[in-house]
Amino acid sequence: MTAEMAGAAAITMPTSATDPRDRGGPAQPLLIVDNLSRHFPVRGGLLNRRVATVQAVDDVSFFVRKGETLGVVGESGCGKSTTARLLMRLIEPDSGSVIFDGDAVGGRDGIGVNAMRRQMQMVFQDSYSSLNPRMTIAESIAYAPRMHGVRRKQAAARAEDLLAQVGLNPRAYARRYPHELSGGQRQRVNIARALALEPRLVILDEAVSALDKSVEAQVLNLLAELKARLNLTYLFISHDLNVVEYVSDRVMVMYLGRIVETGTVEEIYHHPRHPYTRALFSSKPTLDPDRRTTEMPLTGDPPNPINPPSGCRFRTRCKFARDICAAQTPALAPPFAPPSARPSSHRVACHVPEAQLAMENPHA
């Protein structure tokens, strides 16, 4: 962010530089995830022995800059949602660390899990099941602040304010129950609920995936508006490539619990390097005849995460696979031929230069 931009922004809204909770300054990523792993034991047989392990999230490292939207894409079962739940500590990671604005979460010198949760909230996919059917909309939104010691009246006032902010008239909706609302309205309520603790980072786990296209667009616009007004940072998880392209600054592609490629939207969408990313994008529907791709879409299901392939997990479906792909796990590294000479954050986990170069610009 340039000084000029920061100055202009400071007049209209609080920026991360003026947020009293900001500790690391604008250059400090809001979230750094380091080698995060979670393996689920598969139990069975006599005495519930561990018979196998699902490597749901394996050695995942990434960062989210302040004020940006990081999109996470991948097939279902690739570990997107598990990553989100690990970040919220809804499930405990086996190993790895999470650093929130420079403070290690749960570390000795860092911040506690609950302190982190006050600054990081999550919106779930299923708008119906993420609201307690026995509570009114206003009660659901006010619940978290109440649990954190906010007085009933103040919490209720905050709930009404948040309802208005997400475009629902508090007078008409505050006392309704979830089943009396449409899916789009419920998802607005869920967004208000997530914002009730005034978080800085919001994880949107397929938050718009269950909505109709027209409602989805309205909610996406609302999210953009809230992001600008409240100076939020988003981790946007979705399987919808078009939506991720629309909302994200940077994109992370996951496959079978690992990150295969990460970079800016431009880099990932127009200069994808990993064979999996390219295959994924060739399955993306488009109406533009000039953008039709000739690359074969992926066939078959991803391999069973219980026994993932050794080395590169994509090699069983990759036409460029070689011996090294089975022997060594590829690390995330700068691509062999960067789209431009200037340094970029583009990283790809692939051993084979030809695979990365096979089609320089699939949409050209």
Binding site: P133, Y143, E180
Partner: protein, 308 residues
């Protein structure tokens, strides 16, 4: 923020015709009001509830409505048919007024039917919610212990416990309570596990709510309905089982009035006065049927999703 009353998009979102005042009327009334409204439109549930209330009233007010001593026999007036003057429902094999005995019998039968369910509801409900919410080792320990009880057929288990403790009303109540704990644990564990996995519980955890508060505010409210419905349906089974225990001579002892015991003693008169002999059985049938239908009615009335 644009003015919601004039912004066309907002108005559209609010489903309000232009110019109309936003009324919170649709929102008034909570979940239980909606349940009551749905119950009011269900004649079967209303009817069986009325019958049950009448039976309970007769049992409670037995000394007032019976009109005769349920223990005073008359050798000259044995096994009179229905409609006999002075004994409008006839008399049993020792000449005791059957109407009086049915009224007084309702007291013990209902007590023996309802109390075991209440005990198992408290014990089993608690264990089930703990097992369902805690999961892991605690849950496994509780559930596997319950599986041991499940290995026995319920009536055999009740007979075995009763045989062990000796006969009597309190022992039969205790035996039935033990029999009903495992299914109660299973039901409440299942619904708690389901509720626990719902996103709103995850959302509450994600906002730093403690386990106790989550159970109190989010789990119990959503779990109590199905557990209570199941408990109501268990009452009918409990009435039948306790009547069965008395019939076998393991529960209430003669000359006390209890429907199962009355059925047993009148059994020998089935060829002489079949209609009189069938009356205690009819009471057991009607009462348990009504509890069953009532629990069905409550179940559908409490199912929020039907109204979605």
């Amino acid at each position: 923020m644009t003015d919601l009353a004039t912004d066309p998009l907002a108005r559209d979102l609010l489903h309000q015709p232009p110019g109309s005042a936003l009324s919170p009327a649709a929102a008034a009334g909570g979940y239980w009001t909606a349940v009551a409204q749905r119950l009011a439109r269900d004649p079967v549930t209303l009817a069986v509830t009325a019958i049950l209330l009448a039976i309970v009233f007769l049992a409670i007010a037995a000394p007032l409505v019976a009109g005769a001593d349920p223990y005073a026999g008359n050798v000259l007036a044995r096994l009179k048919p229905i409609g006999t003057p002075g004994h409008w429902l006839g008399t049993d094999e020792t000449g005791r007024d059957l109407w009086a005995r049915l009224c007084f019998g309702g007291r013990l039968s209902l007590l023996a039917g309802i109390l075991p369910v209440l005990i198992s509801l408290a014990v089993g409900g608690f264990l089930g919610v703990v097992a369902g919410y805690a999961g892991g080792i605690v849950g496994t320990l509780i559930m596997r212990t319950m599986d041991v009880f499940y290995a026995f057929p319920s009536i055999l288990l009740a007979i075995a416990i009763c045989g062990l403790l000796g006969n009597g009303l309190s022992n039969s109540i205790l035996a039935l309570a033990v029999v009903f704990v495992p299914p109660m644990v299973r039901i409440s564990e299942t619904v708690t596990t389901q509720a626990r996995q719902l996103d709103f519980v995850e959302a509450a955890r994600a906002s730093g709510t403690s386990a106790l508060q989550i159970i109190r505010h989010h789990v119990l409210a959503n779990v109590l309905g199905p557990i209570l419905v199941y408990a109501t349906s268990l009452i009918s089974l409990s009435i039948i089982l306790s009547a069965g225990l008395s019939f076998l001579g393991l529960g209430v002892t003669p000359p006390q009035a209890e429907w199962g015991l009355m059925l047993n003693s009148l059994r020998q008169a089935i060829y002489v006065q079949p209609y009189v002999a069938a009356l205690p059985g009819l009471m057991i049938f009607v009462t348990s049927m009504c509890f069953n239908l009532m629990s069905d009615g409550f179940r559908s009335a409490m199912d929020v999703k039907l109204n979605k």
